[in-house]
Amino acid sequence: MVPFAFARPATLSETFAVLDEHGDEASLLAGGTDLVIELRNRSRRPKVVIDLKRVAELRPGISERGGWLTITATTAMTDVQENALVQMWFPALVDAAATVGSVQIRNRATLAGNMCHASPAADTAPPLLVYGAVVNVASARGARRVKLDEFLVGPRQTVLQRGEVVTSIDLPIATERRAATFVRITRRRGVDLATVSLCCLVDASGSTRFAYGAVGPRPFLVADETGALSDPSADDESKSTVLRALLEQASPISDVRGSREYREAMLLVMSRRALLSSIERLGAA
């Protein structure tokens, strides 16, 4: 690791001051499970690392207010997994958080960090996308809210501007009946990145949303509002036609985890399975 200074702001305004002073030469540290690797392999050489874990406004926490569930920036995956409100309203997010890395990783890695790192394979992105997550961003100039679908730009790229910090992630609590399923293929069970991951959400009004990870430069969200997919009586062939059209956005590549052809084949199979399971769960709910 190249030497760097270590800043431990106690408040958001102190954080903005350090960020404004150092700009691109500062790296934000939450759980550190991605950052420390990049520091060690020197793909990042910041002048200063800013630890967000002592910022009063960003303390770990999951709270409900005005129809939204808010998960603060330093909340670890383990806390997301174990939270009763997340379990009740966003079970597919629990399933996805439970697949991140290992127990040791989940005890440190944060949900917000998983989004800011913006890996195309980020495990928690597909459920956050189908649940309609909104990212709260703040800087010395003020705060703004960005839909997660717009927040993620490309591999390792988000809309975050110089001086900005993600303060929390908001999830809208649905009043309508709905069910979601997260599925993921990996080469082995623990500590592996997804070959393909996806989340499918069906709601009582008949709309179906899919979000996909690891099959494009960024996780992406698509929807069928016609009701064709969620109709339990529709035949498989017509559903597959709709699914194929939704999957046109997927642009999987070949890498060590799987070939493009394998990913393409699995996308349809997994989408069908997740859809079936979501319809079943909706019926049982």
Partner: protein, 153 residues
């Protein structure tokens, strides 16, 4: 920078470089070499320690992050010179081959048992999925943890 950290019950008030991992601090600074370095990227679990009661990969933490916290390493698990029930179970099950992964396995299993005192075999596999054993002694390792859970009853 100056930090204050409690390791295995003893307090340390030390000067540390910002770019030093907790793993290097434990091994090189405090000479607690039970904690192992292997992959150094969070994949093998050989460097597992407890920080404020939670199992973490010490290779992915900066020492400065532990300021004000409590760290427990493998050296801190035996009380009064007596091995813990879990450590005894590792010996009794023949779970230790070359031994390199074992400190990490034991600390991860300790954390698992603290949260789930009587885990099933599947729960043990899931709980230890962040710990690799290059000798491939997984069956004995998992059996040891299940046995320790039974002995806890």
């Amino acid at each position: 920078m100056r930090i204050h950290v409690t390791v295995n019950g003893s307090e340390h008030d030390v000067e540390t470089e910002a770019n030093m991992t907790l793993l290097d601090f434990l091994r090189d600074g405090l000479r607690l070499t039970g904690t192992k370095e292997c992959c150094a990227v969070g994949e093998c679990g050989a460097c597992t320690v407890l920080v404020d009661g939670r199992a973490v990969n010490s290779c992915l933490m900066l020492t400065a992050e532990s300021d004000g916290g409590e760290v427990t390493t493998i050296e801190g698990l035996a009380a009064g010179g007596k091995l813990s029930v879990l450590q005894d179970a590792f010996l009794a099950s023949g779970a230790v081959q070359c031994g390199f992964c074992i400190p990490g396995q034991v600390v991860a299993a300790h954390h698992l048992l603290a949260r789930n005192p009587h885990p099933t075999l599947d729960e043990v596999k899931e709980g230890l999925s962040g710990n690799l054993c290059r000798c491939g002694g997984y069956m004995q390792i998992c059996a040891a943890v299940v046995a320790a859970g039974r002995a806890n009853r």
